[in-house]
Each structure stands twice: as structure tokens, then as C-alpha cells.
């Protein structure tokens, strides 16, 4: 059966390739070039030091400044002996008062500000792997209390050795997935001969009680022995005082943690779980409201809380554990307790069962086609309402559905039972759609806009405690020439959109924007931040690599200033008026800077009230078009609506065509110089030949000098010609599928005039 299934899958994959080939030009890729910072080496530094950092990435053309999400970390280009900047190298200075933690690093480029890479600030000494350490014999000596920055190679194991004394407690903590690395680290502590003593493969920490004075080894590799520059790590090895809790290296936060904590929750719970509270008779008494911290420990732990409640009361129960970054799945059961009389057992009646908080929007399945974002705004944590139907005693039982056999002391939770506190939390990410099977490239792009481009961000709300109203979206503090329009999250819904537009003439610029949602909650205006999420790596094949999304620390918006959007679509008038129940025609203006494959793009309306409007074909080769919207069919009531259209098109993209002419000019100039030097050399040769004996040596020296200059110039010309070939290749039109978004406009629907 499995074999048949495998053949079918292969056959299906072959079809996808064939169809792709038939529908579009060869080698079609997804997403216009976007600047992505992919690695920094090292990946962090110690506070109060300056560290040299090398960066790599995609489309980091004309990379300029390296900068961070905190002003206490600054960088300067590294200069060579002549004072010229060294490509991709920076001197990063971390202020002494910069707190230990993770920050975002980014690079300014010709296409705007790059995507972010996590950069750690630590308190320990920093070292970098500088020579291959792939055998025990070549192991790198690691001083205790240091962090080592390195990357494992494919099919390789990195070896380290450290000295320790009997009785010492040594912590070995490898940061990898938590700092955007692709490395699923396996860390092994071994004896001096490299024989394994302790192994950690699930991203945990090794707490090593040193059995004897001596040398110990650390072996580090990827779980399946994959490797490369993307498989980097920060290996921390430090002495930990006995009896003290281990504080691990910092890690990025999962997307679903955007909804935790609720606004106003104190950092520490006022109440702590008291074991044993594993069953009814030993239930821990609490009074509502309550806020308790506890843990799912040991394996199959059950925590039972008991409280009195009155008929008609409504309580909201929220548990956070997965959102604290833990591999748990909390479940809550509330039962009403009727005490048995005269020694009879208590009678328990199930009142409420709570498990996961579902994602407010459909999350991508793990199939090949794109059927939703891979960002999960839901969580295995718990949030729900307890409606009390009778006065009495209630028992709340909290368990970890993933905890049956795992005894991890660190698997903690926070349980909050409160009266309704209606609220919401927001998260957004770059919109993606099915452009090519399995391709999730666009998910990792930064908000780096080409002139005339509109970028769409999908915004999702988690509504809390019954809040059901409209949520307006806004983005402020944008760079000059950039505007942002939110398509609101309508009452009762969870999804909205933010459209960020750069004017065609917008200058190169960057700003850290404020992205918020605004609503009226219980008659009062409420503003909440919208967190931005990203996928750490471009994923061209979602079956080859599972996207790993995370939250970003900030909302950077930038404009290229040089590159223009292939197609800018705007409504002829920013406000279009119509009467309810009529057909509305929206004239659109197209501005193309690239050729497109095909003559039409299927577009769809977005924006509350217009989402059900049928898709239409936009004549992409024309300079204008009209869209007809049937207000009667859409049943749109009078009012003002923000609307846009979006769809996927195939651009014949030319990367930096202007560079070709520039390099060509340089090449011509260099050719002339070479020719002139050739002539000069010929002259010098002739003169040297004819020179009298006393001048022979001098003339020969002159000939040698000019020959050297000629050779240098020829080499330079060769290099420039190679550069030209590359530039011409890059500027050759390539088919790239991308999302085309119309600049949002307003539709004002007038009421039908009463006669």
C-alpha cells in the first residue's frame, strides 16, 4: 500500500511539474527579489564589547548599514587598510547597559531593509569556531563560561573539549532553533575519549555533574546530520552554582504567544500551586477570581482546584503553557461537586471541558498546495467561559495531554480565572497565496517596498472574553512617501488586512512603524499593538522544509528608492461613489514597468463587504480597465468601505538592468585604458631595445613597470567583463510569480434616495 501511495505521490509531483511548465515559462520562481539577511557570524556578542560580524544573505545588493532593533547595539562598516569598506563585514558595538536578550539585526540594501536575523547579547565571553573541528583530534578547546559561535557542516560533527573539576556543575546549552537557525541540535557530553555520557536532542539543556577532574568532550551535530551555513549555533558552556535555577540562552517567541499575557496581568501570579493536589480529596481551595502558577510535574500530573461559585456567575478560564514556549497541551475539566452524605462518595457532574484555542483562521495543512498561512495564531492552551448554573462547589482539573510519560520540572503553567475582561490581541504576517505548489517563499519577505508597490499583510485577531466589535487597523510612523490602509476586522470576524503602499517616487527610506488595532470595548476606546510574524527562512519547497514562523520584535517598513513595482494599479479616483443596490464601475489605471506573461491576471476584491464579489480578469497588458461591482448582489448597506483587489501574476522581471549600462561604460573605459597601456608598453619596448647601453637598465625598468600596469589593467578588465556577464544575466527577463495588489481606495455607498 505504502509503495502504491509513494508511486502515486511521485506521479502527482510529476504532473505538478508538467503543468507548471505548460502554464508558465521555464524556471518560474516565486516572489520578486527581496533582501534577506540570512546569517551573521558570530550570532551575538557580549555586552560592553565590539565584535566583528560577517553577514550573508539574499539580494543584499549595495548593502549599507547593519542595524539592530535596539539603539544600544550599533554597527560600522569594517574598513580595510586603505579605508575602503570591506564587503559584508561590520564592527558591532554593544553598549555595556544593553540587557542580555535577543534583538533583530537587519541590513539596508538597494531594495530596502532586509529581513531580520536574531542577534544575541550575552554576559559570557564569546568565541568563534575559526578552524574545522570535525574530529576528536581537532576538537576546539572551550573555556568554561563562554559561548561559542559556529555552524555545523553537512555530514559533520563539531567537537569541543573543556576542562572541569570533580563536583562542578556544568551547564551545556545550545541555542539554535531559537535564534533562527535550521539546526535541530544534538549535543553530547562525553569523556576525554569522546565516549558519550549525556545526550540531549530535543533542544533541552544538559546539566552535567562532573564525576572527576579532567577533560570532557562536547559533540554537536544536526539530528539527521544536515549542515551548512544555515545550521549555526551558539553553544554556551558555563559553571552553574549548585541549587540555582538554570537560565537558558534567550530564544525567539512562537507566533501564538502574541496572545499572552492579557493586558494588565502581573508578571508573577499571586498564588502558587500546592502539591499534592492530584485528586478531589486533595483539591487545592481557591477563591475566584484567581491567578495561579503551577507545573505539570511529575509525569501524568493532575492538578485539582476547588472553588465556590454562585448561580448566574460567568467566569473566564485561561491557561498559558504552550504560549510560554513549552511543549505542553493543557486541558481543563470543570465539575460540580455534590458532597456525599454519611460517607457516601461525592457526586461529580461535568460542567465544562476546555482544550485548545483554535486558530481564528484556517492554518495551512501540511499538504503541498497552499491552503492557509502556516502561522498558527491558535494554541494548545485553554481559554473559555464557565457559566455557573447552580450555587455550589466546583472542581477544576488541569492536566497536560502531552504529559503522560514526561517528567519535566520546567513544564509550568499559569491559570487565570477572571470575570469577563473583553479584549483582543493582534498578529500579522505578509500575505501569501498559491503561486506555485509547495512554494512558501513569500512568507519570509520583509516590508521592503518598491516604488509604486502595495504590500498586503494578513491580520488576525484573537478575541478574548466575548469581545465582538469592529477592530480598525492602523500603521503610523511610516517613512516618507509610504501610506498604510487597514481593512478592518469586522465585528465577529477574526481576519483583516493591512495594505502598505509606497508612492512611485518615494525616496529610499526606513522607519520603525507603530502597527495597532483600535476598538471600542465596553464604551471605551482601546488600542492594542499588532505583532508582526515572519518565517525565518525562504522556503521554496514546503515538503523539503517545514516553515518555522516566529514573532518579530518590531515593525520595520522601508522603501527601495530605486526599484519600481512591475505593476501599479490604482483607482482613477481615491473615492468612488455609488448608490446602494446599483452596479458600480471602478475605473483602474495600470502603470507597468515590466513585461508580464499572459494578458490577464485574475483578481479578487478584499475589504469588508466586498469579499464575496466574484473574481475578475484584469487585462494586464492594457493601461487601464474597469471593474464592475454589483452592490445589490453584494447587499452592501450604505456607508464607507475600504477596498482593494489582489491576485497573482507572472512578471518578466529584470534585475537591476541599469547596472548593465553602468558596467558596460566602465568596461569600455577600461578597454581604452588597456589599449593605451599596450601602446605605451610597445613604445617602451622599442625604446628599451634602441636605448644605449648606459640607459638600457633604466629603460628596461620602465618597460617592466608599464607591463605590470598593463597586466593589472587587463586583469581588471577581465573582472569587469565577468561582472558584465553576470549583470546581463541578472537583467535577463525571468518569469517570477508574485502577488499584485491594487492600492486601496474608498467606496462610498449612498443610501437610495427616497422619492
Amino acid at each position: 500500500m505504502a509503495i502504491i501511495a509513494r508511486h502515486l505521490r511521485r506521479a502527482a509531483a510529476a504532473w505538478v511539474v508538467l503543468l507548471g511548465g505548460a502554464a508558465a515559462a521555464p524556471a518560474q520562481s516565486v516572489g520578486l527579489p527581496a533582501p534577506r539577511l540570512l546569517t551573521t557570524m558570530p550570532m551575538g556578542g557580549k555586552a560592553g564589547t565590539t565584535v566583528e560580524v560577517a553577514v550573508t544573505g539574499e539580494h543584499l545588493d549595495e548593502a549599507g548599514d547593519l542595524f539592530f532593533s535596539d539603539p544600544r547595539i550599533t554597527a560600522k562598516r569594517k574598513l580595510d587598510a586603505t579605508g575602503a569598506p570591506v564587503a559584508d563585514r561590520y564592527a558591532v558595538t554593544i553598549a555595556p547597559d544593553c540587557p542580555v536578550g535577543l534583538y533583530e539585526a537587519r541590513v539596508t540594501t538597494r531594495l530596502g531593509v532586509s529581513s531580520a536575523r536574531a542577534f544575541a547579547v550575552g554576559a559570557l565571553a564569546e568565541v568563534v569556531v575559526t578552524r574545522p573541528n570535525r574530529t576528536l583530534a581537532a576538537a576546539m578547546e572551550l573555556p568554561l563560561n563562554s559561548v561559542c559561535n559556529g555552524a555545523v557542516a553537512d555530514r559533520a560533527i563539531d567537537y569541543f573539549v573543556f576542562q572541569a573539576r570533580k563536583g562542578q556543575r556544568v551547564v551545556v546549552d545550545c541555542a539554535a532553533r531559537g535564534i533562527d537557525s535550521k539546526l535541530n541540535a544534538t549535543v553530547v557530553v562525553g569523556d576525554a575519549a569522546g565516549r558519550d555520557l549525556l545526550v540531549e536532542r530535543r533542544g533541552g539543556v544538559i546539566d552535567f555533574a562532573v564525576p572527576a577532574d579532567g577533560r570532557y568532550t562536547i559533540k554537536l551535530h544536526e539530528l539527521t546530520f544536515k549542515g551548512g551555513p544555515a545550521f549555526y549555533y551558539r553553544l554556551g558552556v558555563w559553571e552553574q552554582p549548585a541549587g540555582t535555577p538554570i537560565v537558558r540562552q534567550p530564544s525567539t517567541r512562537a507566533v501564538n504567544s502574541f496572545s499572552w499575557p492579557p493586558v494588565g496581568l502581573p508578571p508573577q501570579a499571586p498564588l502558587a500551586e500546592v502539591e499534592p493536589n492530584n485528586d478531589g480529596p486533595r483539591a487545592q481551595r481557591v477563591t475566584l477570581p484567581c491567578d495561579v502558577s503551577g507545573r505539570f510535574f511529575p509525569a501524568a500530573d493532575v492538578d485539582v482546584y476547588e472553588f465556590e461559585a454562585k448561580k448566574g456567575e460567568e467566569w473566564w478560564v485561561e491557561v498559558a503553557s504552550e504560549r510560554l514556549g513549552l511543549p505542553t497541551d493543557p486541558a481543563v475539566l470543570v465539575q460540580r461537586v455534590v458532597k456525599g452524605e454519611k460517607g457516601a462518595p461525592d457526586t461529580l457532574t461535568d460542567v465544562l471541558e476546555l482544550a485548545d484555542i483554535p486558530s481564528p483562521v484556517k492554518v495551512s495543512s501540511n499538504g503541498y498546495a497552499y491552503d492557509g498561512p502556516p502561522y498558527n495564531a491558535g494554541t494548545s492552551d485553554v481559554l473559555g467561559k464557565l457559566v455557573v448554573k447552580d450555587d455550589g462547589l466546583y472542581r477544576l482539573q488541569l492536566t497536560d495531554l502531552f504529559g503522560g510519560t514526561r517528567s519535566v520540572p520546567g513544564n509550568s503553567y499559569r491559570l487565570v480565572i477572571r470575570r469577563a475582561a473583553p479584549d483582543f490581541a493582534l498578529v500579522a504576517w505578509p500575505l501569501h497565496m498559491e503561486l506555485r505548489n509547495g512554494d512558501r517563499n513569500a512568507l519570509s519577505k520583509p516590508i521592503a517596498l518598491r516604488g509604486g508597490a502595495t504590500m498586503a499583510l494578513e491580520v488576525v485577531a484573537l478575541r478574548r472574553d466575548g469581545f465582538d466589535g469592529d477592530i480598525e487597523l492602523a500603521m503610523d510612523g511610516l517613512p516618507p512617501g509610504v501610506t498604510a490602509h487597514g481593512l478592518k476586522i469586522p465585528a465577529g470576524k477574526s481576519r483583516g488586512m493591512m495594505l502598505v503602499t509606497a508612492r512611485p517616487d518615494a525616496a529610499r527610506g526606513y522607519a520603525n512603524a507603530a502597527f495597532v488595532g483600535r476598538a471600542t470595548v465596553a464604551g471605551r476606546p482601546v488600542t492594542r499593538p499588532c505583532r508582526l510574524a515572519t518565517v525565518a527562512w525562504p522556503v521554496p519547497d514546503s515538503w523539503g522544509e517545514i516553515p518555522s514562523p516566529r514573532l518579530l520584535a518590531d515593525v520595520p517598513v522601508s522603501v527601495s528608492g530605486t526599484d519600481l513595482a512591475p505593476l501599479t494599479i490604482t483607482a482613477k479616483s481615491p473615492v468612488v461613489e455609488a448608490t446602494a443596490g446599483e452596479k458600480l464601475t471602478v475605473p483602474l489605471v495600470h502603470r507597468r514597468t515590466s513585461e508580464f506573461t499572459g494578458d490577464k491576471i485574475q483578481m479578487k476584491a478584499v475589504g469588508a463587504g466586498f469579499e464575496t464579489s466574484p473574481a475578475f480578469d484584469l487585462p494586464v497588458q492594457a493601461d487601464k480597465s474597469e471593474v464592475v461591482l454589483d452592490l445589490k448582489a453584494l447587499n452592501v448597506p450604505p456607508g464607507e468601505y475600504r477596498v482593494s483587489f489582489l491576485g497573482g501574476g507572472v512578471v518578466k522581471y529584470r534585475h537591476q538592468p541599469e547596472v548593465v549600462a553602468k558596467v558596460e561604460a566602465t568596461s569600455e573605459k577600461m578597454l581604452a585604458e588597456v589599449k593605451s597601456l599596450e601602446a605605451e608598453a610597445k613604445r617602451a619596448a622599442d625604446e628599451a631595445q634602441r636605448a644605449p647601453p648606459e640607459k638600457k637598465e633604466q629603460m628596461t625598468r620602465a618597460l617592466t613597470a608599464v607591463t605590470a600596469r598593463m597586466k593589472a589593467a587587463t586583469d581588471a578588465l577581465t573582472a569587469t567583463r565577468q561582472q558584465l556577464t553576470r549583470a546581463k544575466d541578472a537583467a535577463r527577463p525571468r518569469d517570477i510569480a508574485d502577488i499584485i495588489v491594487c492600492e486601496p481606495f474608498t467606496i462610498r455607498v449612498r443610501p437610495v434616495e427616497k422619492k
Binding site: R202, F225, L333, F402
Partner: protein
Amino acid sequence: MPLEPSHPRHPSVRPTRGACAAVVLTLACSGGPARAADGRVSFVNDVVPVLTRAGCNMGSCHAKAGGGQKGFQLSLFGFEPAEDYEHLVLEGRGRRLHFGNPDQSLLLLKASGQVPHAGGLRLPKSSPGYAVVRDWIGQGARGDGATAPKLVGLEVEPKHGLLKRQARQQLKAVARYSDGGVRDVTGTAVFESNDKAMAEVSEGGLVAVLDLPGKVSIMVRYQGRVAVFNAAVPLGAPVGELPPVRNFIDAAVFANLKDLGIPPSPVCDDATFLRRVTLDVAGRLPTDAEAKAFLADAGADKRDRWVEELLRSPDYADFFAGKWTALLKNRRDDASDTVSNFAFHAWVRDSLLANKPYDQFVRELLAATGTIVGNPPVAWYKRVREPKDQIEDVAQLFLGVRIQCAQCHHHPFERWSQDDYYALAAFFGQVGRKPSDTRGEDLIYHKRGVATATNIRTKAALRPAALGDAVPAIAPDEDPRLRLADWMRAPANPFFAKALVNRYWKHFFQRGLIEPEDDIRDTNPPSNPELLAALEKDFVASGYDLKGLVRVIVRSNAYQLSATPNAFNAGDRQNYSRYYPRRLSAEVLLDAIDQLSGTQTDFPNLPPGTRAVALPDNSYNRSSAFLRVFGRPEGESVCECERVQSSNLAQSLHLLNSPDVRGKLAHPTGRAERLAKDARPAEARVKELYLVAFARDPRPDELRAALGYLAEPRATAAGRPVDPQHAAREGYQDLIWALMTSKEFLFNH
């Protein structure tokens, strides 16, 4: 979760599913049933046994799932007489029976071969069975399912016997009924020997003992009941002085040998011990340095110290992880299995390295929850998806019980009913799944609810019960799998520890105390029950300490006996009077060849130097012809028998003339090349080879032969002398190759 009622496994030839298949092979054509005193033939107690004995209701004949044969269906082994009556008498407008002239009944015409019958001759017209059926039809084909006395017991007489070699013993099968009646059913019962090399049994129950000494059992089966005759066949040779008793294992093994009169071989020498135990515990050869040090060590406790060294080493974990992951079906069918297979293998390996107690290991596997990367035993639920497969694998692997048959019918050799089967399946009834980010992988959790499983025949929803043991009610919040694990780890559990110690015993002694090692049942008794009980007790008392079990086994003198037979014990295959040599397994042999030739095998996408015993799953069999040819399993079955340990021509050819082996011998950085350039005297170099290959120095004659061979002048095909460097290289290649293909190298002995 619906449980498929089909019976897809009966046709399988894999021994793992062989219990039912084995029955199919036992054909019987005649037999003389005892008749009731009143002369009336009982359908239930007379006719059905005749059909069973004649093989009509075998799984491959009219009891075949999905309609029997040619539209005529009988229940398997007649376990459902009411249904059989229905099919036989009422179905097909009664065309199968001819009441006016019973001899013309289609049933009898076919069974006696008077009309064409695809199943051949089953009941000759002259046979007593034929007469029974004919008389029953003649008497009106009475159905007596409700009134017939129930079969309540089966006994065999005698129950035990002390038999000489070549002796014969007639057995008698006696059935007891609910009305107090007793019948001799020897004529209709089915007899089967558990070791046909030791004793055969005729259809009529006559046991013929052959030449081998030991213990043998004859199973008697009649209408869903079984009984067993146990015989001891002593050799009766004089047993002189026995090796010293180092622990309870020696006491039990040597007592048995004494009883049977089989004198054991002496304790082996140091070199043999070192090589044997290193191969058995760490799956590798000792290095030449280790061998040298061990042989030079004069300490009296050096064997015990070496055992400790091996148990501490990661090699032990790598080797046993390979054994366990194959049994736990860590198969790679798709590239997307890679991460889960590595994670699962690593979990097994790390658990063994840390010497996680066996009960805890099994508990973590059975009751796994979460994601594979977060909790790798969850991968087992990816591989074994259906509750029926889960319980079948768990029962066979961890309890030594092959319960597969009971899915569709009462187990033919065992006490397990369908209710037992489904009550066991109920433990897995509340396993919840949620989709994960990874294709083909689910998150596993306990789905709140009362666990039940439905018996496909009775449609009864059964609560969890563990092989006949009732389990107190399980609350909806509680994961029933944890209760199953609790039940397993209870010290009094009759299966859990026994299955493991028997499995490990077989690992070290080549033959389980019960064979096959995962078919533990009353009708398949151990060859040394006292030893099995003592091992079980010791293992439970140790807190399920796996390294402790290995330690106690390999420290015993029973394990350390020489493989060389004495004048009496060459034929012993069962009583451990000597070490039974075994060919090195595929991975161990490949590593050993690499070690001897001084090379490495390159496995796709793994670091250079990765040893074959440390491979995480079966996928490397695709790239390594060597591993395939030498029988590395594919992780398809929970049976150890999937690993092919037998020898074949392809293996010989592979060693003799494969590019793989030739490449290793002639490798530019290999041992032959290095030795050819080595400045030491040839004697030292030959000694190195013997130490690596056999963990011993060469005997004088071997040394002479080797040195002589190396010194022989070599010439090219054209007759010109070969240059000395080239000649030396060829000489060492030949020598290594000769050692490599010797039985002493290929076998652990």
C-alpha cells in the same frame, strides 16, 4: 476506531504471523471419534471434530475469510458450531445434504472424492469420520448446539515422560464434557511437536523420539481446547566435573545438563571470551590494542571488568538500539520519515545508554504523547497506526503473546478469546490525533472518554482488560495506556519480564528458552523452566535493569563455555552445553570487515566513519548490497526472525568477489597498504592481523604459513618479477582476505 474483520495475514509465510499458518499445515484425513452411548450423533461433539480433523475448516479451506470456498463457509476450526450448522444444513436450499440417501449428500461426495473437489480427498468412504457424518445425516442432521454437552476440558495422558532416545510413546487425548461425560478423542484430536528435530508425532498420537537429547513438547488440540505432553530425553552420558557456578544461571543450566546427562564443554579461553562478548554486547570486534591489553592482563577479574567497560560504552547502546528499532518498525518509506526515524532511533539509543529501566522505556513508548521531535516515542504511533496493530505488536514484542488470531476467532492454541483481543485493544481506544506541521505525522494525546473497543462478532463494547486480568474502571480523564503500562510492570505480571529475559537470552545463546522467543504459551513450554523463572525474578528484582540482565548473563560460566563440542554434546542444540556459534549479523560483519581492512563504509548523508550498527533505519539497505545480502531487516515486523541469519551463495560470492570487498582490501589508506609500508618485521604485522580478526595471536603453524605466503616471490602475468612494494601490498591483501572469509572470522564462537 473500526477494526477490520478481514484476515489478511493467514496466507503470510512470515513466521511472525505463523501461528495460524502452522495449523493449516496439519492435515488429517481420518480418525475414529467416540460415539455417544445412545448412538445418536451429535453435530457439535461428533461431526464438527470430524470436519476439523479432516481439515475442512482450516483458514485456507472453507474457513477462509470472506466466504470460505465456492460459497461454502465454515467457522475456523469449528469454533462456531451454530454457524456451521446453518451453512451446512440450511444454506443453499439444503443441497449439501441428502436425507433420503446420505451417501449422495454433496458434503460426503465431495469430501470422499467421489465428485471433483478442489480440496482433494478428505474423508475416505471407509473412514470412521465418513461414517459419523453419514449417520448424522441419516439421523436427520440434528442440530444440537443448545443441548449438546459442552466440552469443558482436554487432557493428555500421560502429561510428562522421561523418554530414551529413539523411544516411542502413545498419547491419549481425553475430552471432558459439562454433563460429566468423558471421551477418548485421540482419533479426532490434532497432535503437534514443538521441535520436530527432537520428536515426531503421528496423527494417532504416537510420539517417536529421535536422536537429540533435551526437552520436547507435544501439543494436543481438540475443539478449541489444548493440552500438552512434556518429555525429557536424556543423553545419559557421564557428566564429570562441571565448571564453577558463578551465578544462578550456571546453577540452573548445569543442573539441567546433569539431569539430561550432557557434559558441557569447558570454559573458553580469554581470546575467545573477549571476541565473543565484545561482539555480543557491543556489536564490534575488539581492537588489536584492546586484545593485546586484555590478553596481557593477569587479573582474575579481567573478564568482569571488560564486561563493565562494554556496558559503559556507547557501542552497547548503538548495537542494541539497532536491534530494538528494527523490531519497533523504524522504517523509512519516504524522505519525510527521516527526522522522525532519526529521532526515534536516537531515543532508543539514548535510553539504552542511560540504562533507562525497561519498564519505563516501554511505558514511554506505549503511552507516548506530543510531537515526534518533542517526544520521539510518538514516532511508533506514526508507524503503527491502528489499535489492532498496536496491541498485536505490543503483545508479541513485550508480552511474547501472539494474539493476532483472536481478532477473528478464538486463538487455536491459546486461551485467548476475541473478547480478550478487543479488551486489550480498548487500551488504545482513546488515542487522539491532531495534525502536525509535518506531513504524515500526528500529535498524539489522550482523548478524554471511556475507553472501549467493539468485538466485531458480538458487537459488544468492551472495557480495557489485560489478557484475562480485569483492570479497575478507568476514569475518562485517565490515559488507559498508562494503566496498561502499570499492569505490565507489576512484579507478578506473568508475561512482561519473561518475554524480555527470553528475548535477551536468545540474543546471547542463539536459542530462546522458549522458541520462537515471542510465542510464549502454555503449549510451548520453556526448555529450562527453572532458569527462565530465575531470570525473570532477577530482572524484576533489579528494577528492570537491562544492563544488569546483560551483565548477569555474560558473567555466567554457562555463557563462557567453549563452542568446541566434546565427545557427547555436539548434537545438543537446546541445553546450552556449549556456546552455539552464530554468523555475525549483517551490520556487525560489515563493521568487522571495515575494521580488519582498515576502511570505512560510506553511508548516504551520514558522517564518514558512521558504523553500520549505528544506522538509524532500514533505508541504508538500499545503498548497501552487503547489508541486504547478509539479511539486515527492513523493519517490517516485530519478529526477530525478519533478520536473516542463514547463509547463502550470494553471501559467499559477495565475500569472494564483490567490488565492495575488493575495494576495501585494496583501499589506498587501508590496512593492507599500511602494513605493506610498515617497517616492522613481517611477524609483528601478521600478529596485528590475527589480533584484529580473532583477538588472538596466530598459532605457530598459522604464522609459518602466513610468513611463507608473504615471502613467496610474485610475478606478473608476463612472468616478470613484481616490485617488492607491490608484492607486499598484494600479499597483505590476500592474507586479510583469507582471514576475512574464514569461519573463525565470520562467526561468533
